[in-house]
């Protein structure tokens, strides 16, 4: 084959010696290039680590992709062999094999041994070329222990082998073929590289990227190192639009179809694909002539400016930014953005250490192209536009929130010397021994400060800020500075980076608020703040609610504190029933002492449930009593055998529900009995005294207050049957109903008592507060559990909610629940 080579090179004996000299001369420069690369490989391929190693493959593949860009190649095959050598095969034209006059070697050898050579040394070869950016396949050759080149061109096969960049053989024609293309196999030099293992995934990712960028090119990769072999084939007709879809795989996207624009001209081609997801990261890949410009550059800045400008413009014109004063920053509009921008231009200029930044002057062109197209797109796709703008506004809000959080933390993190002035701290320094009482209202704060045991109890008075929202509506909130004070006092800091439970200064944090509706609201507010922003405190059991008494009872010289309504009733019963004797006139059963007290407590219970139930019945007390009688009375339907409540509504004939209806209509109610087809259940519709329509159906009967009321009523009807004969100190008196009996008993009890109801903590003097609520020996603290907090949050959500009706209803209901039994 030597002869062929000679023939091809066309050397004559006459020129041989001269040639030899100049060949030597060129060899020297070649050798110089080789030495330079081997001496400082990182300068050419970035590193001698993993990145540089993989770069070798990309360099070879880029040559093939260039062929594809020029339209001569559509398949590139990459193989990782068992010894970590790599083969790259394409079906392009094959590297030229003809004699290169200037270099006096085959063109192929020039490509393989001269820096920055390659198909591109002929500027007309490819209009746009990625390889221009690269260092050429010669670098790969110089840095390989060995490299085998095989070219299929013009019906013949040519081969040549190199060792560390030095030709071992000349380029030889070794056979005939009908194939076309180039095959390069190389083993990276272990003298150069610190690592020699190729990563299949890493190579795959990059090759996939190349396939996306070049619609229609088929790139395969095969890994022979493992059994069974792994392989991928990358082939995308959709180009970069498919690329962004791929990047958004497993993400929830804001719009199904990527936004795609393209423009193609000799001077500059631009392809852009955009798709937002609901995440917060930005993932934008930029390419210039297929080179991943990892450091961006002019094309990326053009893209970013256009995006920020267009989104801001749409936010303004559409009115979406109405409640948002500042403008949306670049970071805001890029949250959740996944985009690929690819430009192609002749002779691109790159800069930077790794040449990963495009320097050519394309910013203006890219920007104006995108401004125009994106504006047009937003106008035509308002749904998508709104989602994107909405997301950017959210991002801007979060940025604002983060700024505020930092502000609060910054002032708070300085340490205990900066404790808020209104905190009355304790002397103890061991957090495990310390308690913090968070008290709402100044007067209460004063009592608490005086009443506490200052050795281990600290007091922080907070003051809710009152706002007049509408004419007759007032709201309360925690001001910015109160929140700051609270966090500083706790010592934990706040937020992802700053919160630390170990810095908590008190292991008991106790909310102490008034026992009225206002107090319960402010407690809801505080508890919700803790639950949302520092749930760790609740989880680890550090949060408590103080239980100040609602009543003080004085009998003669004895004073007693009573914590709530129920206990109060119980207390009164105990007092009153001690010298009282009641006989049911009907059953002749005698009630006295403990037995009487127990029975009357049931009456109180019934009253509690009835108060709730009557609201479901248009506040019609008569209707309520009729129903109780119909269901639970001595002649009521539930007295019969094994009738169940649901059975009454299910009964096929409707006999029992019919009796309820009869009873109601006898009492003068207009009723209509019908069957709910959907569930096959009976229902009675009637009109309450107030005029509102009321349905007596399973929905009503399934409420706990209905079932409890009926159950207690039924028991009381059987046991504590009216009327009663009351015997007190020898006298006798007849009482008609249980209610009357209860009132009578309570009144008797109250006769000798002084009852004080505390409306606020401030009404207690420091000693009283200590004795009843703060003294660890006597107090009861309610530990807040996460479940309680979850419920509190729900209540808070209703209180906060925009829905006016549920809010009003909740406040009313809540007020009723807190309302005192009239003692």
């Amino acid at each position: 084959m030597d002869s062929t080579y000679k023939e091809e090179t066309g050397l004559s004996t006459a020129t041989l010696s001269k040639k030899r000299d100049s060949y030597n001369a060129t060899s020297i420069t070649v050798l110089e290039g080789r030495e330079a690369v081997r001496k400082r490989p990182a300068m050419y391929i970035g590193s001698t680590g993993e990145m540089g190693l993989h770069h070798l493959v990309y360099e070879v593949v880029d040559n093939s992709v260039d062929e594809a860009l020029a339209g001569y190649c559509d398949t590139v095959e990459v193989t990782i062999h068992m010894d970590n050598s790599i083969t790259v095969i394409d079906n392009g034209r094959g590297i030229p094999v003809d004699y290169h006059k200037q270099e006096k070697r085959s063109a192929a050898e020039v490509v393989m041994t001269k820096l920055h050579a390659g198909g591109k040394f002929d500027t007309n070869a490819y209009k746009v070329s990625g390889g221009l950016h690269g260092v050429g396949v010669s670098c790969v050759n110089f840095l390989s222990e060995w490299l085998r080149l095989e070219i299929w061109r013009d019906g013949a096969t040519y081969e040549q082998e190199y060792k560390r960049g030095i030709p071992v053989t000349k380029l030889e024609m070794t056979g005939k073929t009908r194939r076309r293309g180039t095959k390069i196999t190389f083993l990276p030099d272990s003298e150069i590289f610190d690592v020699n293992e190729f990563s299949f995934d890493k190579l795959s990712e990059r090759l996939r990227e190349k396939a996306f960028l070049n619609k229609g090119i088929r790139i395969t990769i095969k890994d022979e190192r493992i059994e069974p072999e792994r392989a991928h084939e990358f082939y995308y007709r959709g180009g970069i639009a498919e690329f962004v879809k791929h990047l958004n795989k497993n993400k929830s996207v804001l719009h199904d179809k990527p936004i795609y624009f393209e423009k193609s001209s000799d001077a500059l081609s631009v392809d852009v694909a955009i798709q937002y997801n609901d995440g917060y990261d930005e993932k934008v890949y930029s390419f210039a002539n297929n080179i991943n410009t990892v450091d961006g550059g002019t094309h990326l800045s053009g893209f970013r400016s256009a995006l920020t400008r267009t989104i801001n413009a749409y936010a303004q014109s559409s009115g979406l930014a109405k409640n948002f004063k500042s403008s949306l920053s670049g970071d805001d509009v890029r949250e959740g953005l996944v985009a690929v921008i690819s430009v192609k231009l002749p002779q691109p200029q790159f800069e930077g250490q790794t040449k990963g930044k495009l320097n050519s002057d394309v910013k203006g062109a890219v920007e104006s192209f995108l401004n125009e197209r994106l504006t047009e797109y937003f106008e035509q796709n308002p749904t998508v536009a709104r989602k994107i703008v909405g997301k950017a506004i959210d991002a801007a809000r979060a940025r604002e929130a983060a700024r505020k959080a930092r502000e609060i933390v910054r002032k708070g993190a300085i340490g205990s010397t900066m404790l808020p002035g209104k905190l009355a701290d304790c002397q103890e320094r061991d957090p495990a021994q310390c308690e913090l009482y968070i008290v709402e209202g100044d007067s209460a704060g004063g009592s608490a400060k005086q009443g506490r045991d200052r050795r281990f109890q600290a007091v922080l008075p907070l003051k809710g800020k009152i706002l007049n929202v509408e004419k007759a509506r007032f709201d309360k909130m925690l001001s910015h500075s109160e929140i700051k004070t609270l966090i500083t006092a706790l010592g934990t800091g706040i937020g992802k980076d700053d919160f630390d439970l170990n810095r908590l200064r008190y292991h008991k944090v106790v909310f102490m608020t008034d026992a009225d509706v206002d107090g319960s609201h402010i407690r809801t507010l505080l508890l919700t703040f803790f639950y949302r922003q520092m749930p760790e405190l609740i989880e680890s059991g550090h949060v408590y609610i103080a239980q100040p008494p609602l009543f003080k009872v004085k009998r003669g010289k004895r004073e007693e504190y009573i914590k709530d309504e129920r206990s109060m009733v119980r207390y009164l019963m105990r007092q009153a029933t001690s010298d009282l004797k009641v006989v049911s006139d009907k059953t002749k059963e005698v009630f006295e002492g403990h037995k009487l007290a127990q029975a009357l407590e049931q009456v109180v219970e019934l009253r509690r449930y009835c108060e709730k139930l009557v609201r479901r019945l248009g506040n019609d007390e008569d209707l309520l009593h009729l129903l109780l009688k119909a269901f639970g009375g001595q002649e009521g339907i539930l007295h019969e055998g094994n009738t169940t409540l649901k059975g009454v509504f299910q009964d096929e004939v409707g006999e029992q529900i019919g009796r309820v209806e009869e009873l109601l209509s006898e009492a003068g109610y207009k009723t209509e009995l019908s069957s709910d087809e959907e569930h096959g259940l009976w229902e009675i519709e009637t009109t309450a005294a107030g005029g509102s329509k009321v349905k007596i159906d399973w929905e009503l009967a399934s409420h706990v207050e209905f079932q409890k009321a009926v159950e207690i009523y039924k028991t009381l009807e059987e046991r504590l049957t009216a009327p009663f004969i009351l015997g007190e100190n020898g006298s006798k008196e007849t009482i008609e109903s249980r209610e009357e009996l209860l009132d009578r008993v309570l009144n008797t009890a109250k006769k000798d008592l002084m009852i004080q109801r505390y409306k606020g903590l401030g009404e207690m003097n420091p000693e009283q507060l200590w004795e009843t609520t703060m003294d660890p020996e006597k107090r009861t603290l309610l530990q807040v559990k996460i479940d309680d907090a979850v419920e509190t949050d729900q209540i808070f959500t209703i209180l906060m909610g925009d829905a006016v009706e549920p809010r009003r209803k909740f406040i009313e209901d809540n007020a009723l629940d807190v309302k005192n039994l009239d003692v």
Binding site: Y280, D394, R397, A398, E400, A401, A402, K404, A405, E407, I408, L423, A424, D425, Q427, D442, S443, G445, G446, K449, Q450, R452, R454, A458, K463, K465, I466, L467, V469, A472, R473, F474, D475, K476, M477, L478, S479, H480, G495, K496, D518, H521, I522, T524, L525, T528, F529, Y531, R532, Q533, P535, P766, V790, D793, F796, T797, L799, M800, R807, I811
Partner: protein
């Protein structure tokens, strides 16, 4: 359970942002607190209490100075 900010499903276990679904939602919530957006209904303030702070409650700060080292 639902995220208090976006009302999308959120979980408690192994969730550093609990009860929120994400750091973002937690941050937005904190922003709202800091911005005094969260309010509860209140009763009309009694006129005398309106300037509670200037109203030197007797002994309000009697003990705190003693308490500090």
């Amino acid at each position: 359970m639902k995220c208090p900010t976006c009302h999308r499903p959120s979980k408690w276990e192994d969730n550093p942002h609990r009860p929120f679904c994400s750091e973002r939602c937690k941050l937005l919530d904190f922003g709202a607190w800091a911005n005094e957006e969260f309010r509860v209904p209140a009763e009309e303030p009694a006129p005398s209490l309106e300037d509670g702070e200037q109203n030197p409650a007797p002994s309000n700060d009697d003990s705190d100075r003693l308490a500090r080292p």
